[in-house]
């Protein structure tokens, strides 16, 4: 892979990323957006975040790529953030559970 070819690919993905991030924000800047659409868009965050989590723990054949320690870590992190709303704390708890359970198992 020549440096120039790699840089062209990076620039193309960078430009495409900016366009995808900006397109609706700029195109809809001065247009009325129907209330039903606005209320539907509230579901983008939970839907995509849930999809991201699944995509990180399941392989192309639909098998779980994580084991018991990771599952317990996700549960512990989830409970922590639900109670505390503290992301750093939930990540520390999750990673601690992962390391401790992995060490025991």
């Amino acid at each position: 892979m020549s440096p120039a070819a790699a840089l062209i690919a990076i620039l193309a993905v960078g430009l495409g990323s900016y366009i995808m991030r900006a397109v609706f924000i700029i195109a809809l800047a001065n247009r009325e957006i129907p209330p039903s659409v606005v209320s539907a868009l509230e579901y983008v965050a939970p839907a995509v975040l849930a999809s991201l989590v699944v995509s990180l723990v399941v392989d192309a054949q639909g098998r779980l790529t994580i084991g018991i320690p990771e599952i317990l870590a996700l549960v512990a992190g989830s409970i922590t953030v639900w109670r505390s709303r503290n992301y750093l704390l939930s990540t520390i708890v999750g990673m601690a559970v992962l390391w401790i359970v992995s060490a025991i198992a």
């Binding site: 509230e42 839907a47 723990v57 054949q61």
Partner: protein
């Protein structure tokens, strides 16, 4: 138009702990650049140019394995497609923003900034903008710095630390913290199921399908609730 310093600081303050969980991913990306055999500086330049870890990782890995430029570019773009949904979701909020911010804000619209911004959707425009800029500053500076560091440190972190597991942990935490009504639980569960069923599709298309299915399920659940 005034600059709301306290909301700017709040954006910085709330972004830092979330950014810390991204550091392992930055190290993994550094490792991927080194392993790809690409010129390290060019590999790193994907951080300021693309500013999106998942797409960078996919693109760098494919380029390193000798995939044709067009195919690698297409794969990188498909991974980024969920940002179309973020752009649409933020459009109503950005309507109240000045033109310059409508053009600047999208540059730093990554998963974490989007999830944080949605929690501040009801702030007044000046406060929202200051918060968004504060959070964005943390990620832009932090991501560029730590991916550079990752070129050196990435290859030295023992795999047994499983630092990259912080990524699903933080996405799940962002998901749970954003749930304020039952219909969002429905959206999340349907999205998860749809993604699970479509994981076999190439280029993480399952992410888009899951996102669309989840939004549809949320809307239907909301109608049934009334």
């Amino acid at each position: 138009m005034s600059f709301n310093r306290s909301m700017f600081r709040r954006g910085v303050g709330e972004a830092i702990p979330i950014f810390i969980t991204v550091v392992p991913f930055a190290l993994v990306l550094g490792l991927a650049v080194v392993n790809s055999g690409l010129d390290p500086l060019i590999g790193w330049s994907s951080s300021p140019i693309i500013f999106g870890g998942a797409a960078q990782l996919v693109l760098i890995t494919l380029l390193g394995s000798g995939t044709a430029v067009a195919a690698a570019t297409a794969a990188g773009l498909v991974v980024q497609a969920r940002h179309l949904m973020y752009s649409a979701a933020l459009a109503p909020i950005f309507q109240k923003q000045p033109r310059w911010f409508q053009w600047l804000g999208p540059y730093s619209l990554i998963d974490q900034v989007f999830a944080m911004a949605m929690t501040r959707a009801d702030e007044d425009p000046d406060a929202f903008r200051a918060y968004y800029l504060g959070a964005s500053l943390v990620y832009v500076v932090g991501w560029n710095a730590t991916t550079a560091l990752g070129l050196i440190v990435g290859p030295r972190v023992p795999e047994s630390w499983q630092l990259d597991f912080a990524i699903p942990l933080i996405f799940l935490a962002l998901l749970i913290a954003g749930i304020n009504r039952r219909t969002k639980v429905v959206a999340a569960l349907v999205a998860a199921a749809a993604t699970y069923l479509t994981m076999g599709l190439p280029n993480r298309l399952g992410l888009m399908i899951g996102g669309i299915a989840g939004v549809a399920a949320g809307v239907i659940a909301q109608r049934m609730e009334r």
